[in-house]
Symmetry: D2
Subunit: 147 residues, 4 copies
Amino acid sequence: MASLAPANPDFERSVRDTFQAQRFLGLLGAQLETVEPGYVEIQLPKRPELTQHHDFFHGGATATLIDVAGGFAALSLMPADRQVLTVEFKTNLLAPGAGDALVVRGEAVRAGKTLTICQMDVYALGSDGAETLCASGLGTYMAVPRT
Amino acid sequence: MASLAPANPDFERSVRDTFQAQRFLGLLGAQLETVEPGYVEIQLPKRPELTQHHDFFHGGATATLIDVAGGFAALSLMPADRQVLTVEFKTNLLAPGAGDALVVRGEAVRAGKTLTICQMDVYALGSDGAETLCASGLGTYMAVPRT
Amino acid sequence: MASLAPANPDFERSVRDTFQAQRFLGLLGAQLETVEPGYVEIQLPKRPELTQHHDFFHGGATATLIDVAGGFAALSLMPADRQVLTVEFKTNLLAPGAGDALVVRGEAVRAGKTLTICQMDVYALGSDGAETLCASGLGTYMAVPRT
Amino acid sequence: MASLAPANPDFERSVRDTFQAQRFLGLLGAQLETVEPGYVEIQLPKRPELTQHHDFFHGGATATLIDVAGGFAALSLMPADRQVLTVEFKTNLLAPGAGDALVVRGEAVRAGKTLTICQMDVYALGSDGAETLCASGLGTYMAVPRT
């Protein structure tokens, strides 16, 4: 996605502060890696508490990554007086969430004044560093006044 | 949805055993309440670790409930030698996840040999017992051989 | 959905005029039946030009019904100076679109100032009048100023 | 998407024949341009009968393109004795469908034995040949025996 100009010069701090304030992400152990205008990357190391009955990452953990990657990619483009709400998102699980960690990449594909649409991909990281696409998402996020 | 006959007479045990084996649901503290053919109800009591930056239930927790409610509603209709995989699901967040607990109700709207489609609603339970619809979902689940 | 008060007393005319102005719906031959606050019903009689390679209604025709049923259910609740835009919608095809006609019912499940979320079901009508659920949808619609 | 090998050496004919047999696509005037393994491109020239009340392409026409682009991208990877069914798809409308034509590009992101997941983008073509992304989709398609 070419040349998305952030409306908030301090966009990275806004994203990192909101990430930090979401206690559910702390419960999971998610780590915010990259923050760029219209783009974020988040990693989630494997822990037994994050799995389903076959020892893969649980789809709920994967869906959470998809939701927040889209939300923070959208937030990175919003003015400083706005915060982000998830309107909706779709999650397609493509392959078992196997591996040492999941990494999600979220990208804004259209940023409007009120709504931002994002595309998200989740990769399973093997112990050899290889990435396997294991989920894709598409979501809608809304800018609302900070309260 | 009227008159869905379970292919597995022991459907409730199959659902409860799988629920129990998903450690992520234990991390969240989700409780499986009702299991009927093509229908489940799951409750999630409020804890600070489940919230986002405004102290409401995090959308990732809500999406997890939607995913598993659909998955278990689908599993309840599958033969004993099958297990369930999530193919995809959509989550619409309708209102803040405020209240003492969330309750999700998942229902199969079409059960085929391979795919089952489910509709899910999440309600926020107030301290007075009132329910507020706070999320809806629609998802696709697949029967695969047990391994 | 109980007791949705229309913001526009002339809501039915607003919906019928917009329906009439969408030439694509004329190409398909769709007929707007019922309009109530937060609810519409649209019928589409079978014609060979609406089919896919097995002589069932084409999924694109079904998706169009889902889209417009949600859009008009949302529009029926909007103030007179607003029009409706589709933000997004999901379509699940549940059974072949067989029969003499399709009927879609769209209902608002949450109506906000800016966004309205709707749930839609499509039924295939047999020559004996029996209805078979053949598709479900969930969508997001936005109120924007009339221009 | 790297190196998708078609299971059917005659995949292009299979896609073109099925396209031709879908009378609804003829009603719209859609033209199948490119067919490659796991990828198709379809064009839809502007006609007044394809518009909504602001003279843009109707969202139902856009959704139809998204549906069939995913379906044919999936079909191109299936064995000769299979045909394709749409399980579900999501459509996000990103910008008005303005311009002389729409072009949709559908691509398989995961092809399994039974299910194939595809990602679709729709562009509006201006009279100067410029492309504007106006819709994105994500869908699930199923291989079933030919009958």
